[in-house]
């Protein structure tokens, strides 16, 4: 059954990017050291992936998604194949005097006889010309190799297999169901089973990444970049959970994590090229688009600014910085704080504004959402409170637009008044900017709410969508509160609530919070605040 799914996935991939990450993972699993993955520009010289094989020989791969290749297709791609074979690998990790590299042509289909013959003839004379021969990896080889990687790390229970098929067959235009996807990833990793043997760890991690490729394929096909980004962030976070739980060294998971990051970056690149070339952001039926328009724009503002902040945290120049700045300027009036799950998007926008010398405006945005929380979630509020960050955007909108399930859904039965998950983070954010007067003006209302914070146990459970263990802690703000104490707490470099691997990757933290809004905690926000301020 898995073979059929893998084959279906491969043959439905209409661009090499659709299986490039999975193929890289396959190579890493087979013991290759991945040196380079091309950004597919003119400098790639026919080499999409460059690796060092386990026997020390450099290898170059040209990936195609042409399905069956006949002579006319072959003629079209021949130039790239020539470059793949004839131009030596130029990479600092490959010695210039290294004799021939291994050249591979990878395709998600089969070769027609005429093409097979052409390659055969070429390979016969290649050694005489001092060139490497061309190895071909076709659909059958790919299916066999991918299935081999999975080993026992497959959806084993019928329930898990059903979940996999449902996720795989999903309509790619919907939002990725994060909770379901998380449960699926855990089932592949065998997360709740006995700890895997050391020899199996690599296989488990490789398997989860390749399975993620299958499941994320519908989103790639529909160009649903936000879901694609969310998916890769979830995979990366689950890998971190798995390796933290098993206390594995970085060498066992580093390449997989890097491939997830590539998936995330590719998602952002697709999102940017779509958003920055559009003037009109409406989508679908105009009759109902207005009801979701501001939510869409808030997400786009949050994700694009997050990407720019991410590049900044990685010390990389962003060539789209100005375009994003222009987009924020033009669209910020559409920001909508639909529930507390919007907090990370707002934080991302204000960090971006701050970095572009719009300090006052940034502070005003945070003040306005803090005000919204204390007003709407205040005990005296007549309006429905702002939902907690655990509820999906669609659940929240369904409630606001009265298309709920007749009061039977969870969100209608909860009371959001009197507490907030984000308020403490926002108040401390403002305190770090010395907005004492503004906080003082709000303090009376702030004290009517209690700060809620879920503390996962152990700390690595932060990476999970739901943690079985942990404690929901409530604390009332001080009455009175000392500004000195508040400032001290806000400025404290307290990182005990930040999991170890996130401390090493501040650029990932912002993306993580964007996808996991229920993990917004004062410690994590302060940690990011400091990282962005450096």
């Amino acid at each position: 059954m898995i073979e059929r799914v893998v084959e279906n996935w491969l043959t439905n991939t209409n661009e090499r990017g659709g299986y490039e990450i999975a193929f890289s993972q396959l190579l890493a699993f087979q013991g290759h050291r991945i040196l380079h993955k091309s950004s597919h520009g003119p400098m790639e010289q026919g080499k999409d992936i460059i690796t060092i094989a386990p026997d020390g020989v450099p290898c170059a791969y040209q990936l195609k998604a042409e399905r069956d290749i006949n002579l006319s297709t072959w003629r079209k791609i021949k130039g790239e194949i020539d470059e793949l074979i004839e131009i030596p690998i130029q990479h600092p990790s490959v010695a210039n005097d290294f004799p021939n590299h291994r050249a591979y042509f990878v395709n998600n289909g089969f070769l027609k006889d005429t093409v097979r013959r052409a390659i055969h003839d070429r390979n016969r004379v290649a050694p005489k010309r001092g060139l490497p021969i061309l190895n071909v990896i076709q659909l059958g080889d790919l299916v066999k190799d991918f299935v081999e990687v999975h080993g026992r790390f497959l959806p084993s229970e019928p329930r898990d297999f059903r979940r996999f098929l449902e996720l795989y067959a999903i309509d790619g235009t919907v939002n990725l169901p994060a909770g379901e996807f998380s449960a699926f990833l855990l089932s592949i990793l065998g997360f709740h089973d006995k700890a895997p043997k050391k020899s199996e760890v690599k296989r488990a991690i490789a398997s989860v990444l390749i399975f993620a490729n299958y499941v994320l394929a519908p989103y790639r096909q529909t160009q649903n970049s936000v879901s694609l980004i969310n998916g890769w962030v979830l995979v990366a976070a689950h890998v971190l959970a798995f390796v933290s739980k098993a206390q594995l060294p970085k060498k066992s998971w580093g390449p997989t994590f890097d491939l997830c990051v590539e998936g995330i970056e590719e998602g952002f690149s697709r999102l940017l090229s779509e958003v920055l070339t559009r003037d009109d952001f409406s989508q679908g039926d105009p009759l109902t688009d207005g009801m979701v328009y501001r939510t869409r724009m808030t997400l786009l503002l949050g994700y694009l600014t997050a990407y720019e902040n991410y590049r900044h945290l990685k010390n990389e120049d962003s060539e789209t910085r100005e375009a994003i700045e222009h987009f924020v300027e033009a669209q910020k009036s559409h920001l909508l704080f639909w529930s507390e799950s919007a907090t990370p998007a707002f934080l991302s926008v204000v960090w971006f504004l701050e970095r572009h010398n719009r300090q006052l405006e940034a502070e005003q945005v945070i003040l306005s959402i803090a005000q919204a929380i204390v007003t709407l979630n205040g005990p005296a509020s007549k309006a429905p409170g702002l939902a907690d960050p655990y509820h999906s955007i669609e659940d929240v909108l369904r409630k606001y637009l009265s298309v709920g399930q007749d009061g039977l859904d969870d969100i209608s039965q909860e009371d959001f008044k009197g507490h907030s998950y984000s308020l403490q983070s926002l108040v401390e954010w403002l305190a770090r900017r010395l907005r004492r007067q503004s906080i003082a003006r709000l303090w009376k209302e702030i004290t009517r709410l209690c700060y809620s914070e879920f503390i996962p146990e152990p700390l690595w459970a932060t990476y999970l969508w739901y943690s079985d263990r942990g404690e929901l802690h409530h604390r009332f703000p001080g009455k009175p509160e000392s500004w000195k104490d508040l400032l001290k707490r806000a400025r404290a470099e307290e990182i005990s609530g930040v999991p170890e691997l996130l401390r090493q990757k501040p650029e990932f933290v912002l993306l993580f919070l964007l996808v996991y809004p229920h993990r917004v905690r004062p410690n994590l926000v302060a940690f990011l605040d400091r990282a962005l301020d450096k």
Binding site: F454, Y466, D468, E481
Partner: protein, 198 residues
């Protein structure tokens, strides 16, 4: 397998469950007034009191048996199921109310705020004494937000009488005013502490 209509039955189940909640709330109005804060993950929780003490919240399981038919019966219709659900709601309401009082009793005992009437019937003087020990909040017009008094329905006429006395007897009214003025000052004091200081 025989035809089973699982989707329809699931919907029927949800409908019955919703009705169960509604009926429980109707039968336990005091419990129904308490907001539901969901804990989406983890087990248990904690809260910090005003004096900085961290107290653990241990979730407690409340359940009541639903005496549904052991074997399917063609004559067991929706109304029968509804009747059963209402009976269970009655038990659940009683259970929840009992638990609420136990918790309140525990909290009141802990702060030493309980008042033992020593078997006397409820009197206006006792109500005033009770109010004396309680903390009151006031609305923006300075009107007290009066607490809920829970009593056995058999005492209804006596309770009405005692509240009539509170309203009409000058001495009792004066004492109530005195108490409320003091409570208002306490409230002003508490409200004035909702601020940011140095």
């Amino acid at each position: 397998m025989l035809p089973d209509f699982p989707k329809l039955r699931m919907e029927l189940n949800r409908k019955l469950q919703a009705d169960f909640k509604k009926q429980t709330n109707l039968r336990a109005p005091l419990v129904a007034e308490i907001g539901v804060v969901a804990q989406h993950e983890g087990k248990g929780g904690s809260y910090e009191t005003e004096d900085g003490m961290v107290k653990l919240i241990e979730p407690q399981h409340v359940s009541v048996p639903l005496e549904s038919p052991v074997v399917s019966s063609p004559s067991f219709g929706y109304d029968d199921a509804l009747r059963m659900v209402h009976e269970a709601a009655e038990k659940m309401a009683r259970e929840q109310t009992r638990m609420l009082f136990a918790k309140v009793h525990e909290a009141v005992e802990e702060v030493g705020n309980s008042l033992d009437a020593q078997g006397q019937p409820l009197r206006a003087e006792l109500i005033l004494e009770m109010w004396e020990r309680m903390q009151f909040d006031f609305d923006e017009l300075g009107k007290p937000k009066m607490p809920t008094l829970v009593f056995n329905p058999v005492q209804r006429s006596n309770v009405v009488e005692q509240f009539r006395r509170l309203k009409n007897e000058p001495q009792l009214r004066m004492r109530e005013e005195e108490i409320m003025n003091r409570k208002r000052l306490d409230w002003y004091d508490r409200e004035s502490r909702r601020k940011l200081v140095d």
